[in-house]
Symmetry: C2
């Protein structure tokens, strides 16, 4: 079996030149006139990430015979919006970490991070107004609203252990899958590709994106920090009750339920995730959540049958395994 | 002499029906599908404010004979962007106020406030994609970038007492005047009005907006809370060295300069503004700043001579007095 890294390389091969162009556009658009803004956007440009959203946009275009000169720019706009959401996520998540730092400093950091995220959103929208069709502006401004509404809903449902799986998926989907959906739809239909394939690829994007988020939630609850490559246990700290925990809670005795709630809420707990491990067995819940992710990926794979065989379709197929096997 | 409130009523009279339509659009666009989002947007809709940016957009249209059915929507989009900046400003400024509140609660508040601001920006951009021309999307996404860059620059220049007046004005202008400029330009030129008048009205908007910000800075340093209607002394607390203080500092002895810096920076000072009053006489600096605001307003008035006489031009003229006389 190939490693996730090898999988990712395979995935990007058919659109390597488009990805290269996308990165050039992104770097050039991150440049700013103001020195203090430039310092920050340079920094942002360095944490490159997997750029999967851009990749699926280009692959969806290629797989549907709809690759235009503007596709790398559309993909760069999508990555810019993703960067903006990351910058704002960091503000929100960073509150904990920065709590030990001098207050003015923390506040200054949060302040510019909020503003920098706003600037990136505005730049992404401005880039989209320079394209030949307005489709990208429309789809991405509407998708951004969905992402934000999903995150707000998630905030409002913190510490809600009775959340249904359907509602959890609707929110995780809005938060994460909607941008994958938009990437696929735009890839296949910008500026005027094949609409019926765009809708089907949009559903592929939604399912892959939701699968990705479910795996992410499992890694946060079960993963080892060294393997996942980022801090884990954040969801428990933040009061986010994700699928593996919802599954466990729904099947637990009243006594265990009360202990699970305590792990999330008792003041002063140093390592909430470790405490959670101590009060219940999360393994079956994680297994059930991973099975759900596999089901989503399988459904997504089925949608690719509408496409002509070829390297782009093959790459999209390998995305399924990548989502399920990834450790980072 | 009329009160500022009477002035404002006078100002809005020629565009009252357009303003009414603008408010209807704004309220309807603030509605959301999700209940938790809706709770917040309803709340936002209640702090209505002066809506001066929408008013100058409609007045600029009317004064140049360029009032279309779409103008109230353009004006509503401008107010939506302004609301988004206010929501994010509150996150940043609110840190102080919320410091006495339970931490999870504060964090939850900040989190949704950041997301809500993002949602409002995205909705504003989405509204602009529904207009017949792309001009509004282009101008407003570019203006939003300018606003954010101005705020970031301002953050980076906190506690900088050597700031030149030119640089202070460039930043205060980007932060505040650029949206007034865009409002005037769009009013006069959307979707295809008279370009030469649009540029001149844009400069009018810039000068009025900058005058407005300078007066705001004076009120924050000299105003009484009960009269200004909001808390004062925020700039000193935040380390923002505004025009009246820059003027005072530039003309102070080394000893007084050191005391001014102390008033801004010494840890543990309860009322920094009161402390600042104690170490220097700010009145001449405020007077000089108000004289600069008057000069900007006078220059703005001169630009209106390019317009045909009529009620809309008259209303824009009365805006000058309103800016200089306002106490809130």
């Amino acid at each position: 079996m190939k490693s996730p890294d090898a999988k990712l390389g395979e995935l990007l091969a058919p659109v390597e030149s488009g990805m290269q162009r996308m990165r050039e556009i992104l770097i050039s658009e991150l440049r700013a006139e103001s020195a203090s803004v430039s310092d920050m956007t340079d920094h942002i440009g360095r944490f490159r990430g997997k750029q999967l959203r851009a990749a699926v946009c280009l692959l969806a275009g290629q797989a549907t015979g709809n690759s235009t000169d503007e596709h790398p720019k559309v993909a760069a706009i999508i990555e810019m919006i993703h960067l903006a959401t990351l910058v704002h996520d960091d503000v929100l998540d960073g509150a904990e970490v920065r709590r030990r730092v001098a207050c003015v400093n923390r506040r200054w950091d949060n302040q510019v991070a909020v503003l920098l995220g706003d600037l990136l959103y505005a730049r992404a929208f401005h880039m989209s107004t320079e394209l030949s069709s307005r489709m990208c502006s429309r789809v991405l401004s509407s998708t951004t609203q969905r992402i934000c509404a999903g995150e707000i809903d998630q905030s409002g449902l913190r510490y809600d252990f009775e959340l249904s799986q359907e509602r959890y998926e609707a929110i995780a989907g809005a938060k994460t899958a909607s941008l994958y959906q938009a990437s696929c739809e735009l890839g296949a239909s910008y500026p005027g590709g094949r609409q019926e394939l765009a809708a089907e690829l949009g559903r592929f994007g939604w399912e892959i994106g939701l699968g990705f988020q479910v795996v992410d939630d499992c890694l946060d609850v079960m993963g080892r920090e060294a393997e996942v490559g980022k801090s884990v246990g954040n969801d428990v700290d933040d009061g986010k009750v994700t699928l593996p925990v919802l599954w466990t809670y729904a099947r637990a005795s009243d006594q265990v339920r009360s202990r699970i709630r305590d792990a999330y809420t008792l003041p002063g707990l140093e390592d909430r995730r470790a405490h959670l491990f101590g009060v219940c067995d999360l393994a079956p819940g994680v297994e059930a959540a991973m099975a759900r992710a596999a089901q989503l990926v399988e459904s997504a794979m089925g949608r690719l049958r509408a496409l002509e065989p070829g390297p782009a379709r093959q790459a999209l197929e390998s995305l399924g395994d990548f989502v399920l096997q990834r450790k980072w």
